[in-house]
Point group: C2
Chain length 365, copies 2
């Protein structure tokens, strides 16, 4: 606590993020570089960084002005990418990931950021932060490049849980709407429910029930329900938030990423094919760079855990400094808007409404 | 029958396809143009075409040499895109779609092609062609641009049925392997099972059971099982055939298509942005055109219904003449290799093996 007080003392009015320096594929130097990049663009940022103290302090010292903005909390252990979540929950107390979440639980930092093992991060977050009163299954929300004015859609759940029943899907709609309002400045987000067709008679039975629940919840929760959407709508402008179970969402997310990567690689090869195309690449440099930025998954890096008492941003395991900086930027924004308190308030407020929805009132009334 | 005899009389040795001219978004002229394109590249092709006789004959007459290769079978009704499959099954006997499937059932044509309503086409195919002995759920297989030597992966099911249990997934593996052998010339296809992670402990319980069944079936059925694959592997070279339930497969297919479409559109916009980028587009024309062909969904047009007594190729509803020609080319290839008979033989042969797998023998033996 004294350490934290020391940081807080230095940072009156600043945004304090808790950052796990370990567990990413590229090691702590990519994380520290990402912090430096983000800090250079946002003077309010302060970090509590978790991992082996001596190593991290040496890395931080190399970045001009960063050490004044950081407090390092020593943690010996690292959660590896193939670690079983159940094992980490039992014996992971000495890890940087555990320490990262603990700083949020204690209120020393407002948002946690980690590039580590998703399953373990969710498991630690669940047992330490616990679910918001009224939430059955937490979810992971990601941003998806789209034709929308903001440039992105929100999709959830992309992998917190492989199951979701109709009531869970309604909660995802509520949480996704709250995220879109606070993270993307959309006053009245449009929610779509992912299905294999847009016609009402299509798809799984639980989706029809969920569609009915979400329809009835829309007005009370201040969002618009656009009905069923299809996979092709993930990058479209039909909805701002796309709701699905974690199995389908995870497959869709990785399919989209894989397809974008294949095309990017083929495009690169196409431009190296002939002398003409090499010159072409030079001429079109700015335009292509803009496109590449637009579809670069590193720019939208950061899955957000929703439904817990504290916000956790999960960065890609393979994130480089640009990716880490993007995740930190997102975390800072969610911290600045007081997102998690607002989400909890929405859930509490909606709980009564949801109860009414699930136990429908007399249709005559 | 006399009509068909007339065609067969003209076409000794030819490949006779049954083509539904109606029900596509662009109307019969796109279908007839697609037939003409395909026929220009393959002299063996003959068509039994279904729809309003006068209209179709007028369209066919405009294409040089096509009328000699076509027999038109009159059908008054059209199955619309929003028609309910159950209704079409009861009262769709006068439609071009019904007539198209009927020609395959009677043996007048070897493979059917339609751009119409997928659900209705599957429903009619199910009741008229019936399932191959031993198949529980038919599946729709599609081709997916990938890093493989063939340029494609097969994925199934992409929407015949929203459910699939472990035994269905094993049958999809068998049918997908057969399709890859006959449609893509792969002697020993590699099969992957779609999941949210490649580790054995991840995913749904039925997927673990399916993985075990497919592992045991691999040797008897002459394919290699590479285990769990993720969404990111759909365009990769880890597997030749990707097996999943029809809900997940449909979402993945449409997500991939939507992502590719967004990038293609953004690329087009990028090249129109500045005078430099316009010149660049000219210089890189050939390379870009090659890329665009590679990722153009029209080039891989054609979902194939597997597991029925007769092969049905479902072309995209929005297919233009290039798309229809691609679907016809695929149908011709499957006809030429005698695919459906081979598939039925594989299923029959595997049935005993499958029975052994599902009812495992004494592990000591």
């Amino acid at each position: 606590m004294s350490d934290s007080a020391a940081l807080t003392g230095k940072t009156v009015g600043g945004t304090v993020l808790s950052v796990d320096a370990m567990g990413g594929d590229l090691g702590p130097s990519a994380v520290i570089s990402g912090m430096a990049k983000a800090a250079a663009k946002n003077d309010d940022l302060r970090f509590i960084v978790h991992g082996p103290k001596a190593e991290l302090e040496a890395l931080i010292a190399r970045k001009r002005g960063l050490s004044d903005k950081c407090e390092v909390r020593h943690a010996e252990g690292v959660v590896t990418m193939d670690a079983k979540p159940s094992l980490v929950m039992r014996s992971g107390k000495d890890t940087s990931m555990w320490s990262t979440i603990e700083a949020v639980r204690k209120g020393d930092a407002s948002v946690a950021v980690s590039c580590g093992n998703t399953g373990a991060l969710m498991a630690i977050s669940m047992i330490r932060l616990r679910k918001i009163e009224g939430v059955n299954r937490p979810a992971i929300a990601c941003l998806w490049p789209s034709r929308n004015a903001t440039g992105f859609n929100v999709m959830l759940d992309v992998g917190a849980d492989i199951r979701a029943d109709a009531e869970d899907l309604l909660q995802y709609a509520l949480m996704g709407a709250s995220y879109a309002r606070n993270g993307m400045d959309l006053a009245r987000p449009r929610i779509g429910l992912l299905n294999v067709g847009t016609e009402e008679h299509k798809g799984k039975a639980e989706l029809k029930v969920a569609a009915e629940l979400i329809t009835r919840g829309a007005d009370a929760a201040d969002f618009e329900f656009v009905g069923f959407v299809e996979g092709s709508d993930l990058p479209s402008d039909r909805a701002d938030v796309i709701v699905t179970d974690g199995f389908t969402g995870n497959v869709a997310l990785k399919t989209g990423e894989g397809t974008a990567r294949l095309i990017r690689e083929l495009l690169g090869e196409a431009f190296k094919k002939t002398p003409f195309s090499r010159i072409a690449a030079l001429l079109a440099y700015t335009s292509l760079r803009r496109l590449s930025k637009r579809i670069d998954p590193r720019r939208v890096n950061g899955g957000v855990f929703l439904g817990l008492n504290g916000t956790v941003v999960k960065s890609h395991g393979s994130a480089d400094s640009t990716g880490v900086a993007a995740a930190i930027k997102l975390a800072a924004r969610l911290s600045a808007t007081g997102f998690n308190k607002r989400l909890a308030a929405r859930i509490a407020q909606s709980e009564a409404a949801v109860a009414n929805i699930i136990q429908p009132e007399d249709p005559q009334s």
